[in-house]
Amino acid sequence: MKNLIPGLPEEIGMECLIRVPHDTFPLLRQVCRRWKKAVESPLYHLLRRSAASSRRLIIFSQAHPSPSNESSAAAAQKHPCSLPPFRLAALRPTTGEWAHLPPIPGLSRGLPLFSGLASAGTNLILVGGWDPDTWAPSSAVYIFSFLSGSWRRGCPMPGPSRSFFACAAAPDGQVFVAGGHDEEKNALRSAMVYDVGSDDWTVLPEMAAERDECTGLFDVNENLFRVIGGYCTSMQGMFGESAEAFDVGERRWREAENAAVEDGECARTCAAGGDGRIYMYGRGRRSVVVKEGEGWREVAGVPENVRMASQMVACDRGLMIVVGSGSAGGSQAAYLLEMKQGEAAAWQRVEMPREYSGYVQSGCCIEI
């Protein structure tokens, strides 16, 4: 009988394999059939977590930093309508180490702009977005698998092109999409879900409200896809304060709730904490607040240099990261916040080395 590691009992063989760094997964797959099967198994990743060998990574869609010898005015003159190329960066919050993920083959101008970014299991999923050169909305789906260390194409989003929609993934590989606007700038209420395993899309019932530029979160505790804020066609740019949630079990939308967003705030910074609660910027972007019952409780003050154009990513086990700038067009800064039993410990500045100092468009957390 062939064991994972000949000469060692199977459990010990497994205990050894689960301790490799995640960038070694592709190598394990190449050794033999048993190793390939092992690293692709759910048990492998479960054991890895139990042994505290898994690592949390924050994945950002981030712009190339502008060349240091070029002022932004000069850059704008050169390419009046284009933004620097975007690529995926991975930050390990506990050590402050940054790395780049491989680029998507064939996309020489970087990632689509404003695409949905979500994680499920050992996969990152990129949905839609705009072509970096033409700004034409795309329906493409790209999946990065940490098991193979490479990208593949997924089945494109069906239906009319969609921009600025809510996107969030459930851990089992269901990627939900809702709202946004179509080519005529009509706000959408339609929704659909992509299954990473079967590589196909299923149309879902429509939301109660049209929601352009809404924010999507997946609530693992309640098994809900939450869609927050956004505005309808007639209320261009006036963000609403309601939210609705798709009950995955019952396959229907729950009634919209009001005051889902703190007074007048944009839902852009909403993040689903590992504790199932919703966090966002509040109090005029001066604080991080958490939803408690009908209202919002202040958790921590937001440092001044991350209050604008911010992204907040919340992870398991009370970890939160915010990226933003202090002024419009100002340089990016990032902070880590650790929550212990619902109380915030201090903010810790995360250094953004030059190669990783560009504007951050979106982020998600993955544990591998």
Partner: protein
């Protein structure tokens, strides 16, 4: 439970591995020797006189009270028929031995049978245990020193590494098992699939099509 393969040259390998070039045969960590020793009578032995009680008494009693350490030794019989004497506190880093003591399994002769581990490997394992007696003390300087010790300790040839894996698994010494498993993981990373198969004696069982498929997946290129 796994059978430990015994090789004649384990002793020799351990001698070679010992980077400070002390011979294991000569090196005598205070807690381990191969000669039977009388159980030293202590001034305050509790009423029960079984091995378990004596060990527990020694564990509870303060050393240094009388200026002498009241260290209780245990006698173990290895798989290769040698008696290994070890300080009880050290041996009890093995959860298996600890449970045997607590359940009073020593038997009449007060010798504990360890049918799966050779004397040489036992010595090695107890050397780790002794160094890690104070684990959890939280002192940063000690932690760094331990880390350095661990790195040296686990830098052994593959056969010895396997012995340590099996031995620490059987004796249930979690820290050492984790260290040894991590060492194997470290040996895997950065190598080519061919090298890994060679090191670990793994048969390549992919069909040419399967192999091509995996390689392709690892380097996806559109169009």
């Amino acid at each position: 439970m796994a059978a430990v393969t015994e090789t004649e040259s384990v002793d020799k390998k351990i001698r070679m591995m010992n980077s400070s070039s002390e011979e294991v045969a000569v090196e005598n960590p205070p807690a381990i020797n191969h000669m039977p020793e009388d159980d030293s009578a202590s001034a305050a032995i509790p009423a029960g006189n079984s091995l378990s009680d004596q060990v527990m008494a020694a564990a509870i009693s303060e050393t240094g009270e009388t200026g002498e350490g009241e260290k209780k030794n245990l006698r173990l019989m290895s798989s290769d028929g040698k008696e290994v004497v070890v300080e009880a506190a050290v041996a009890m880093k093995s959860q298996l031995i600890r449970q045997m003591i607590e359940a009073d399994c020593a038997g009449e002769s007060d010798v504990i049978n360890i049918p799966n581990v050779t004397a040489a490997v036992l010595s090695l394992i107890f050397r780790y245990c002794e160094k890690h007696l104070g684990d959890g003390d939280g002192d940063k300087a000690i932690a760094n020193d331990l880390k350095s010790f661990d790195e040296d300790f686990i830098s052994v040839d593959l056969d010895t590494l396997y012995d340590l894996l099996m031995g620490s698994n059987y004796l249930d010494v979690k820290g050492l098992l984790d260290l040894a498993c991590q060492k194997v993981a470290d040996l895997i990373k950065g190598k080519s699939p061919d090298e890994i198969r060679r090191i670990f004696n793994i048969e390549k069982d992919f069909s040419p099509e399967e192999e091509e498929e995996v390689n392709k997946e690892n380097k996806w290129a559109f169009e």
